[in-house]
Each structure stands twice: as structure tokens, then as C-alpha cells.
């Protein structure tokens, strides 16, 4: 694997006229041409529009304008992020051919910062899955070992970054869908504080949990991208009005005196080789001046169960609109109800159907309190437990995924085994707090292990400082 140019380097070079955006695009398109057939990171490569965008960036630089910090940086978007006039499928048959009439807020912001959109990446259908095998268009393979999954659901974006197809990938993270593939592909992946990044234009899976975030080669790149896409958006009512701290500016501040807690509930069940990397990460932070202790977040043990009630419940409602009436797939039936049923039967894959059924059941009259209601109470407990932990600690540490990348097909017949891949990432979504995965060496199989850094709501600064120290400790 050749060393990948970072977004920060590319942006700085293009901005300064040292490198042409057009060359950057061609270089990445060549990488795609060489390996995409094996990896299948993309649902759609936007070669022509990317070339046009790059040419426009170069023209602006030549005219003395500043296209922005991501000038000419090739970015790929998970295919559940809306792009004006460009198919957005969520890797589902039911949306095949649909072209959104608008850009997601993050896409608008990326373009305004000079980024070049290189394509739409594969994912688990409607972001439901942990391996990118639940795609209607076939699985993505891990570029580091083509027999292995890249993780999911943002597996296409993670694979694209590690394969050098793009400098930046955007993903969405509802229960770990950015961090887990980042871990399995050996890249940095960030799930921001709920409300920090606008969800406008992100096709909803579970609205109270979904967040868009970056997948990048370096911690600095993730900070750079988050600085661009984050911040208040009046189009998203759950967007946080406060102006966020500029992360790129605080990255180098170190962890001296920082209180770091290793979350026992999220660590003990991971594979020993993964736990060993978390221990090593804790040691590195201690060596850099942090104070490391064991931490406990008791309700985290119930997070997975609560998640698989709340997320499917919201999904059952969010995915109701795919009914064949207005857009996407329509399969005719004898009457309108039969048309609904035929369309949804043909259009959704097995995992999506499973979650719609789970969620419909959890919200049903007579079961609401026992399932959805109780899950929401667990969520409240979890938020309290995290708050208590953050009284003692500035950041928390855990594995991102309990294992390294697993073989394709290994967990497709056992949904529960697949769900368990997100056991350590789900709590942050339920609590609305930021968390990121930082590559920290390899497991016994030589494949990457990610360490998860968690912080209190809007505590991205401490989280990024910690991640930067971990990254530096490996050099």
C-alpha cells in the first residue's frame, strides 16, 4: 500500500497552486480503476462531474481565489447522503433510480470548502448492518484482505479511504456504522455529538441516533472535515445552535493532566488481541501525561438491547414512506394496499424487513411500554451513567469493535452475532455523545484494531486531542 496523501496536504497544495485538483482527481480515479472491481466500494463513481469540479477549482485558484480548506480534495459520500440530481439509493432496490432534487447540508458545505465529490459509496441497506453485506448491489470487500468484510454500514466509505480511492469518506453512524468499519479498515472514523452535524439530506434510519461523520486517514483530516461540515443548520431542528470549537486548532494540545477512563463494560467481552491494543493505548496516553483509570458505565451492558428496540422502532416509521406511490420502485397490486405490500416485499432486503417488523412490534398497542418505553428508560439511565463517569473522567476509552475484520458470510446467518459487533459503539449513539475510532496497531491476524475514544456531549476537543496523541504514539 502506497502512503496516501492526506486531505490536509492535498487541500493545502491545491489551494497554494502547488498541485492541480485535476491531477488529484485523475490520480484517485486511477486507483479506483485499478482496484474497484475487487473492492466494490462504490455504488456510483462520478468521474465526469468530479473532473469538471476539479477543473473549476483549478480555475478559481488560477484566478487568485481561495476555494477553501478542502480545495480539490476528493471526497466520497455514503449512498444515503442526498446529492442533487445524482442517484441516492441507500443500497436498496426500493430507491433505485431516485435522484434527490437537493443536496444534503453536508454536501453543500463540502462543496463550499472546495471538495470534489468523487462518488457514492456502498453500504448496508438503509445503513442497517455491520459488514456492508446487506447491500442490494453486493458486498464491499476489505481492501486490506479481500476475503474479509470492511465492516459496516459505512463499509464503502471506509474501504475507499484505505484503498486510496479518496482522501475523505463521509459515513453515517447510528450504532457504530462509521467507527466499526473505520476500525476494521484501519482508518479514523468519527461519530460527532448528536446535533453537531446537520442530518438534513441524510436518509433517515433511526432519527434520534443518526449522525454524519468523516472517515479519514488521519486524525487531523477528520478534524478538518468536521470543522467544515459541522455547526448549526436551521434546516435540522435537532441541530445544536452553539458554534462548535474549531478542532483543527486544538489538535496539538496534548493530554497532559487529562483524566482517561477505560470502560470495563465495553472492554471485557472483546477478543484478547483487541483488548491488548486498548491496554497499549492507555499506556501511551499515560506516558503522554494522562491519568488513566478503570471506569464503569453500568447501563452500557443494556445498551445493545435498548438499541435494537429504539432503532428499529424509528426505522419502521422512517421507512414507511417507501410505498411505491411517489418515487423509487413500484410493484403493482390488485389494490393500493396490495401495491404497498408488493413494492415493499420486492424492494427491501431481509435485514431491513427484520428491523421494520421488530420496530413495528415494539411500538404496537399493548407492547409499547414493555419495549419502546422501557428501552427509552434504559437510554435515560445510560445518559446518567455517562454523566457520572464524566464527573471523574474527561474522556473514556474502549475497543471500537470486539474483533478485527471477519470473513465475508461469517455472520450472515446469525443476526445476533452481527449485532454484537456494535456492542461497544452503540452506547455513544444512545447517549448522544461523540466517539471516534483511531487505528491502533493490529490484532493477531495482522488486521487493524481500532481504539474508541469517547467524550461528553460537545467534548470533541478533548476527544481529538486524545486521538492525536494516540496516532502520534505509533509513529
Amino acid at each position: 500500500m502506497t502512503a496516501r496523501a492526506t486531505a490536509a496536504e492535498l487541500g493545502a497544495d491545491v489551494r497554494a497552486g502547488r498541485r492541480r485538483a485535476a491531477d488529484v482527481v485523475e490520480q484517485h480515479l486511477r486507483a479506483i480503476e485499478a482496484r474497484e472491481a475487487d473492492v466494490h466500494a462504490f455504488n456510483l463513481v462520478l468521474a465526469e462531474s468530479a473532473r469538471a469540479e476539479a477543473a473549476a477549482i483549478d480555475a478559481r485558484v488560477a484566478a487568485g481565489e481561495d476555494p477553501g480548506p478542502l480545495a480539490g480534495v476528493p471526497v466520497v459520500l455514503k449512498d444515503n447522503i442526498c446529492t442533487r440530481g445524482v442517484p441516492t439509493t441507500c443500497s436498496s432496490r426500493i430507491l433505485e433510480g431516485w435522484r434527490p432534487p437537493y443536496d444534503a447540508t453536508v454536501v453543500t458545505r463540502l462543496r463550499a470548502a472546495g471538495a470534489v465529490i468523487l462518488g457514492k459509496t456502498n453500504c448496508d441497506e438503509f445503513a442497517m448492518g455491520s459488514s456492508t453485506e446487506n447491500s442490494a448491489f453486493g458486498p464491499t470487500r476489505n481492501p486490506l484482505d479481500l476475503t474479509k468484510v470492511p465492516g459496516g454500514s459505512s463499509g464503502g466509505s471506509a474501504a475507499a479511504v484505505v484503498a486510496g480511492f479518496a482522501a475523505v469518506g463521509l459515513g453515517s453512524d447510528t450504532g457504530g456504522s462509521i467507527r466499526q468499519p473505520a476500525s476494521l479498515c484501519g482508518v479514523v472514523g468519527v461519530k460527532p455529538t448528536y446535533g453537531r452535524v446537520s442530518r438534513y439530506g441524510l436518509v433517515a434510519y433511526a432519527s434520534s441516533l443518526d449522525q454524519i461523520g468523516p472517515l479519514t486517514s488521519t486524525v487531523a483530516d477528520a478534524a478538518l472535515v468536521l470543522d467544515v461540515i459541522g455547526g448549526y443548520d436551521p434546516a435540522d431542528s435537532t441541530s445544536i445552535p452553539d458554534p462548535p470549537v474549531e478542532l483543527s486548532a486544538v489538535l496539538g494540545e496534548g493530554v497532559d493532566g487529562l483524566r482517561v477512563g477505560v470502560v470495563q463494560e465495553l472492554t471485557t467481552d472483546a477478543n484478547p488481541d483487541v483488548v491488548a491494543r486498548v491496554v497499549a493505548a492507555a499506556a501511551a496516553l499515560e506516558a503522554a501525561g494522562a491519568k488513566v483509570e478503570e471506569a464503569s458505565v453500568p447501563a452500557a451492558s443494556y445498551a445493545l438491547s435498548a438499541y435494537y428496540l429504539i432503532a428499529p422502532a424509528e426505522a419502521s416509521s422512517n421507512l414507511a414512506r417507501y410505498d411505491g406511490v411517489r418515487y423509487g420502485l413500484r410493484v403493482d397490486g390488485a389494490d393500493v394496499d396490495a401495491m404497498f405490500a408488493a413494492t415493499r416485499t420486492a424492494g427491501f432486503g431481509a435485514e431491513v424487513k427484520r428491523r421494520i417488523m421488530l420496530g413495528t412490534y415494539a411500538l404496537s398497542a399493548g407492547y409499547y411500554d414493555a419495549y419502546y418505553g422501557k428501552a427509552q428508560r434504559v437510554r435515560t439511565l445510560l445518559i446518567r451513567d455517562f454523566e457520572a463517569a464524566y464527573d471523574r473522567f474527561d474522556v473514556l476509552l474502549s475497543p471500537t469493535s470486539p474483533t478485527t475484520a471477519f470473513p465475508l458470510g461469517a455472520k450472515m446467518d446469525d443476526p445476533l452475532a452481527m449485532y454484537l459487533m456494535d456492542v461497544a459503539t452503540i452506547p455513544a449513539n444512545l447517549a448522544g455523545i461523540p466517539a471516534m475510532s483511531v487505528p491502533y496497531g493490529a490484532g493477531d491476524d495482522g488486521l487493524p484494531v481500532g481504539v474508541q475514544v469517547l467524550a461528553p456531549a460537545l467534548g470533541e476537543a478533548a476527544m481529538f486531542r486524545t486521538a492525536a496523541v494516540l496516532e502520534a504514539s505509533l509513529r
Partner: protein, 480 residues
């Protein structure tokens, strides 16, 4: 209503479209009658990835409704009501469920009765489906089968229009009281500018929950919900029909089932749409795309301060000014003519005359109360009161000057110059002289001959005489 030992128990659910500039969750225009699917955007079409942003004006109007209905306006949350229907873009409706914006108010009716308001919550409207070739879908009055149908058309212009659903307590006891409730509610909605509240256009829609019970018992019977009530007339007829149907059913040994029933205006009857067992499970849960709606005290006070006088207060004020009972001025207030009558009273017009003329000659003309010329109204009544116009002439002049004009000039134009007093007196004397026998009987106290003499004078003056003035002169001549 107590018929044959049965009491009718009615609760009304009134949906009204709010008169906002834009829709509830997006910037599309909220307007009636545009070309289909022209007032739409990704949000109100529920396109994937779109998100709602709450319209502040809609909240303000909903708060006005709650305040005017004496509700507590409080922290509320939006919820999703999930069911599949082609004219609902997201296949869920954003509404309010267990925590509505307005709770626990009441509405006072002109007859002095009071009806409790359980809640008034905010929600979005759906689009409109037009079934071609006789298609009738479930929950819109049909069987759900699209026999022989080739297609249906959906217009999403109405999707996302803000609604407030006002739910009364089951405290209404007759079709007439239901009518009074809807009329009063409509008056309030108009007065506070919350809605144009037109039942025929669908900007005000009424569903009635009807049950019956033996007179003198307290327990509520099983209710039926009646839909498709497109006018107050339908409401009255449907409730009367349904109460009769339920009472007959029970008397015949049957049982009322909880169900939704459809009112057929032409047939004059209700028929079953779906039973409780077939009812949808809406799977309500909190809308995660919106934050709780929690108006602060400052906002609530500002809303309260901006509420104009309501019909009940206006009735009381006018009744006091006119020296009559509030019920007697209900129609004048309902039609917005109380300022007109008040101005006439202020100009010294007899209250009864002002009320009668406003009710019969102005209210019936379907003119905008704001365009009625109060000065011309009072001036016309002044001419009538002074005997310079007869009642008949006064009504004819009013018809011409209701939205402005000079009553004296119009009267002259119509040839209504009142007779000079001496001309009238001469005509009366002439009638007396020409009919000595009748005059003798009249003078002896035979009052029924008044009409005879008035008729003679009218004939002689070609109808220009004022009957009251003639009578007065006759009495004067008789000396009583």
C-alpha cells in the same frame, strides 16, 4: 335531546386549518385552490432525507385557539401517527398525542350552556386523493377495493398544511347544541384570525362521537364516530339520525358497536366504515426530528394580550348596551354586526329597531361586516324613527345604502319623500269627512276601524303616508 326516554351524548372533534402564510414544517405557501402539486417541496413531499422545521406562526395561532378556549397552554411534544395512506407523503402524520399544546378549556354557548374542551393540538394535514373511475379506498367511504378503477391522482398541496384539532368533552346533548357549539367555535376562530373555518371548503372539518343512554343514567354508552359532515346541516341531521338508530337498535335488543360511520347526506343515513377491531394501531411515538415545544410565559402573555374580544364578550357588551338578553343579540354578533348596532345605538336609534334591521336587512345580505357603512345605517334608521320613512321604505333604502350612500338622497330617488305633516293631516281630515259613519263608530271606540282609515289615507297619498303617523293623527282627532 331526550327522545322516548333516551339521552344523546355527543363529543365533537373539529379540525381547522390554520390561516398561516406557509405550511407547518416548510416554507411552501398555505393556500387553497392552486394547481395540483405546485405548493410542494422535499419536506412536505416527505422526500428521503428531508426534515421538518416548525412554523412559529402556526404555533402562535394554535396558542391563540387554546387561549380563546380557556385552555392551559403548556409544554408539548410532537408524535408520529403511523398508518399507510397514499395521500400522506411520509406514511405517518406528525401530530401531538399524550402531550398536546392546549388542554382543559371550555366553550360558553349563547344559551348559557358550557361545553368542556379536552384538548386542542397541532398536526399536519394530508394531501388529497382523487379516485378516478369510481375508485373508493378504505377509510374514505369505500370498500378498499379498486374495482374497475384505472388510477388515482394525488395532490400534495394540502400536505403539511397546519391544523389544530379541537376535541370537546362528551358534554353536548342535542344536535342543536352541537350546531351552537360549531357556530360559536367558528365565530371564535374567525375573531382571533386563526382560521377561515369554512366547512364547505374543508378548512373546518367536524367529526361527531355519538352515543345514547337511558335518561337519568350516568354511564356513557358505546359511541360511534361519524365522519363526512360537510356542513352544519349535515352535522345536525347526522347526529339526530345516529341517536335514533342507536336507540332503536338497543330497544330491538341489539348492541351498539364502537365503529366509525360515514354520513351519506343524500340518503340521510350513516353506514359503517370500520369497526374497532379493524381500526389501525397508529403506533404513536415521539417525533425524533422535532424538539419539544415549550412556549415561555412571555410568549403566552403576548398571545393572550393579542386576543380580540370574543363573541361571548361581545354578546354581553351589546346586550347590556341594548338592554336585552345576550341570546337576543347572538345572530348580530355571530355575523359580526355588533359594531354596526353599537354605532346606531350611539346615534340614538331605538335598540329594538337597530337589532331588527341589522338582523333582517344586513345579516341576510352576505356582505362583509367590515364593508357595511355604519353612518348610512344609522341615518336610515333615524329617518324611519322620525317617521320620514315607513318601515317598508326604510328596508328598501337600507338595501341600497348598506355598503355606503346617502339615505336621504336614495329615499328621494325612490320617491320616498315623507309627506309633510300638514299634507298628511289634510289627507286624514279628508278621509274622516268622506266617511262619516265609520268615523262615528271609530270615535265610539271601535279601534278595528283604524285599518280602514289608514287604508284610505294610504290610497289618497299613494302609499307615502306612515301608518303609525296616520294612527296617531286619528287618535288625536278622536281625542283619545
Amino acid at each position: 335531546m331526550t327522545v322516548d326516554g333516551w339521552e344523546t351524548v355527543i363529543g365533537l372533534e373539529v379540525h381547522c386549518e390554520l390561516a398561516t402564510a406557509t405550511k407547518l414544517f416548510c416554507g411552501c405557501r398555505n393556500t387553497f385552490g392552486s394547481e395540483p402539486n405546485t405548493n410542494v417541496c422535499p419536506v412536505c413531499l416527505g422526500l428521503p432525507g428531508s426534515l421538518p422545521v416548525l412554523n412559529r406562526q402556526a404555533v402562535e395561532l394554535a396558542m391563540r385557539i387554546g387561549t380563546a378556549l380557556n385552555c392551559e397552554v403548556r409544554r408539548s411534544i410532537f408524535a408520529r401517527k403511523n398508518y399507510f395512506y397514499p395521500d400522506m407523503p411520509k406514511d405517518y402524520q406528525v401530530s401531538q398525542y399524550d402531550l398536546p399544546l392546549n388542554v382543559g378549556g371550555h366553550l360558553d354557548l349563547p344559551d348559557g350552556s358550557r361545553v368542556g374542551i379536552e384538548r386542542a393540538h397541532v398536526e399536519e394535514d394530508t394531501g388529497k386523493t382523487t379516485h378516478c373511475h369510481g375508485v373508493q379506498a378504505r377509510s374514505r367511504g369505500g370498500t378498499g377495493r379498486i374495482a374497475g378503477a384505472s388510477y388515482a391522482l394525488v395532490d400534495y398541496n394540502r400536505a403539511g398544511v397546519p391544523l389544530v384539532e379541537i376535541v370537546s368533552a362528551p358534554e353536548i346533548r342535542s344536535p342543536e347544541q352541537a350546531k351552537a357549539y360549531v357556530t360559536e367555535l367558528r365565530g371564535i376562530l374567525l375573531a382571533i384570525g386563526a382560521s377561515d373555518a369554512r366547512m364547505e371548503e374543508g378548512s373546518m372539518r367536524v367529526d361527531a362521537n355519538v352515543s345514547v343512554r337511558r335518561s337519568g343514567t350516568d354511564q356513557l354508552g358505546t359511541r360511534a364516530e361519524i365522519k363526512n359532515l360537510n356542513s352544519v346541516r349535515s352535522l345536525v341531521r347526522a347526529i339526530a339520525y345516529e341517536a335514533r338508530r342507536q336507540a332503536d337498535l338497543i330497544e330491538a335488543g341489539g348492541t351498539v358497536v364502537q365503529e366509525t360511520r360515514h354520513w351519506d347526506e343524500d340518503a340521510g343515513r350513516t353506514s359503517s366504515l370500520r369497526s374497532k377491531e379493524e381500526a389501525e394501531d397508529y403506533r404513536y411515538f415521539p417525533e425524533p426530528d422535532l424538539v419539544p415545544l415549550d412556549p415561555d410565559d412571555f410568549w403566552k402573555k403576548a398571545v393572550r394580550a393579542a386576543i380580540p374580544p370574543l363573541p361571548v364578550e361581545r354578546r354581553e357588551a351589546l346586550a347590556a348596551a341594548a338592554g336585552v338578553e345576550p341570546g337576543e343579540v347572538a345572530l348580530v354578533v355571530e355575523t359580526g354586526l355588533d359594531p354596526l348596532v353599537k354605532a346606531a345605538l350611539h346615534a340614538g336609534i331605538d335598540p329594538r329597531l337597530a337589532l331588527t334591521r341589522a338582523t333582517n336587512e344586513v345579516a341576510g345580505r352576505d356582505v362583509d361586516p367590515a364593508s357595511v357603512d355604519a353612518t348610512a345605517f344609522a341615518a336610515t334608521l333615524r329617518l324611519e324613527q322620525d317617521g320620514r320613512l315607513t318601515a317598508t321604505q326604510s328596508k328598501q333604502v337600507l338595501a341600497r345604502v348598506v355598503t355606503g350612500g346617502d339615505p336621504a338622497a336614495v329615499a328621494a330617488e325612490l320617491g320616498f319623500e315623507a309627506l309633510a305633516t300638514d299634507t298628511l293631516a289634510a289627507a286624514v281630515d279628508e278621509a274622516i269627512t268622506a266617511n262619516p259613519a265609520e268615523w262615528e263608530r271609530y270615535s265610539a271606540g271601535e279601534d278595528k276601524l283604524t285599518g280602514f282609515f289608514v287604508g284610505k289615507v294610504m290610497a289618497a297619498t299613494r302609499g307615502k303616508a306612515d301608518g303609525k303617523a296616520v294612527t296617531a293623527l286619528l287618535r288625536e282627532r278622536r281625542g283619545s
